[in-house]
């Protein structure tokens, strides 16, 4: 799809930045991640991933979305060499996950879903430990540690034990420890889950900063808003397979038009009637109609132009319209269109706000 485009974009990015990737041995054209036909079946027979094909270009900010249990973390664990694939070819930074796991480990940063820092160590000690684990040369450790503490704004608490830190601080520290060896590729598995909006924004800025410096980022998230803000390209995984791939704008276009949310006054019966009316409404060629908790939600190309006509039709049919809102589709709608289920969190903004 837009893969080549984004690789090209990424290159432009890289041209502007002086960064560590100079030390890389592979040709510049190669993809950071190249997955073909990946399958992973757990011992109990659960097919967590079936036939995933995916390429992530150098320098891309890539988002990997899917409902809980769709296989996001399984894929990331395969890429980080924590799980061995049942079938398929997986190359990370040009290395095969089966035969060269150590080379991959040297060249990636991995931030797990659960915050992984040693609470008994200070912020600085945690980073130093990571420096040692990743074999950062002794002479560079001081500078690197100071630089990372500065990058994640923890220099003021460098000497404090990390068990006293807030959730956001711990996450930032965790992110810093994943970067000590200047990896050209970083995996972030739901990095902002459970953080307050302020802490989330700071992490976002920070991820954008390292991406601008040329680092490829592979992010999984449940927050569609996060994927929309950060990612150049997205893929959606559902039931172990990739069902959509493209830029956030591409995916939104696939939803097929704008969304008209209508709030109705009467009970579920009225909603069902309204939904039937909307489906049969002539002005919309192809419309997706969904019953929501408070009314109905209609997605159609002509939602903006003909929305008022539908409202009139509803009123004529004796239904009470309490409120309505026409909006561009969010990734939440994309998700709904693709997966058939809404993401159950505060990230998607699909509430009707205005009143008549």
């Amino acid at each position: 799809m837009s893969n080549e485009q984004s690789v090209a974009d990424a290159k432009t990015h890289r041209a502007h930045s002086q960064d560590s990737s100079a030390s890389r041995t592979e040709p510049a054209k190669h993809a950071s991640i190249d997955i073909s036909g990946l399958e992973l079946t757990y011992g109990d027979g659960t097919e967590a991933v079936r036939s995933v094909h995916l390429t992530v270009g150098d320098g891309e900010f890539f988002g990997f979305l899917g409902p809980n249990g769709a296989g996001k973390t399984t894929v990331i664990k395969v890429l980080a060499t924590l799980l061995s694939p049942t079938a398929g070819e997986v190359r990370v930074n040009g290395f095969d996950v089966r035969t060269e796991p150590r080379k991959i480990r040297e060249s990636i940063g991995y931030m797990a879903q659960e915050t992984s820092i040693d609470p008994e160590l200070t912020a600085e000690e945690n980073i130093r430990f990571a420096c040692e684990a990743y074999g950062v040369p002794r002479g560079e450790r001081d500078d690197r540690t100071a630089e990372l503490l500065d990058l994640v704004d923890l220099e003021a608490v460098a000497d404090k034990r990390s068990e006293e830190f807030s959730g956001g601080m711990k996450k930032r520290l965790d992110a810093a420890t994943a970067l000590v060896h200047r990896p050209p590729l970083v995996f972030l598995d739901e990095p902002t889950t459970g953080l307050d909006p302020k802490a989330r924004n700071r992490l976002w800025e920070y991820f954008q900063r390292i991406n601008e410096q040329g680092t490829t980022i592979f992010l999984t998230t449940q927050y569609l808003e996060e994927a929309d803000t950060l990612c150049e390209r997205l893929a959606v995984i559902l039931d172990g397979g990739i069902v959509a791939d493209g830029s956030p704008a591409d995916l939104k276009r696939q939803v097929g038009g704008d969304v008209l949310d209508i709030e109705l006054g009467d009970g579920p019966e009225a909603r069902a009637r309204a939904a039937t009316l909307a489906r049969e409404f002539d002005d919309f060629d192809i419309a997706t109609v969904e019953e929501t908790e408070t009314g109905i939600s209609v997605t159609a190309q002509a939602a903006r132009q003909s929305g008022t006509d539908l409202l009139v039709a509803l009123r004529d049919a004796g239904l009470t319209v309490l409120g309505f809102n026409v909006r561009a589709p969010t990734l939440d709608d994309v998700f709904l269109a693709i997966t058939g289920e809404r993401v159950d969190n505060d990230g998607g903004a699909a509430e009707t706000e205005e009143s008549t």
Binding site: L40, T41, Y42, G43, A80, T81, L82, L83, S84, T86, P101, R102, R105, E106, I108, Y110, A112, E114, T115, S116, I117, D118, P119, A130, A133, Y134, G135, T177
Partner: protein, 233 residues
Amino acid sequence: MFGNVAGGVVNQGLPGVDYTTFLVPAIAIQVALASAVTSGIGLVNDIENGMFEKVLVSPMNRTAVFVGKTLAEVFRIGLQIAIILGLGVLLGAEITTGVVGAVGIMAVGILFSFWFIAFSNMLAVLTRDQESTIIGANLLQFPLLFLSSAFLPLEVLPNWIQLVARINPVTYGVDAARAIMLDEDVMTVLEVTAFGGALDTIVPTVAVLVGLGFVFGTGVIYLLSRASSSDVR
């Protein structure tokens, strides 16, 4: 007071030995046992706070990581036994075999700790839960100590305790340390006379401890390599 009562009993089994001297080797083994528990707890902590996985995604050599962790624990155990021996001597205990004996007791304590370090780490990998590991290891720790030759000579204890003591690794650890301490054949659970003197205790007990360490060590290496391998389960 316990010393006075127990001292009398000890004299029935080992004439001329005061209770402090009798007890110090047992404390040394107790310290080794208690420290070995913390090894498993440390591993569970690492699993729970994600450091275990973090090590797995890092390019560090995994064998080196586990060997390093064990060496750190072994060093701590050696140091703790040295402190116990020092305190014991201050309180009037006598190490008949002198400094060489003291080093020997430290070595026995470390050798003894291997099986329990392995055991507590096995609990850690199997349960992946801090409470279960602590409960499991502690539940065992005290019966192991009391149902052994640690605090009183076996011949003054009931038959069933003698029976349990015979299959209890603590008995072998304590007897080895005590034989070095007193330079005497103190073991009653096995009758060995082939080597003469204290060696009649030391050789068989050390053999038992090496065997135990080997068996449990194999178990924990199997479990750890399974836990850290990327094979799908």
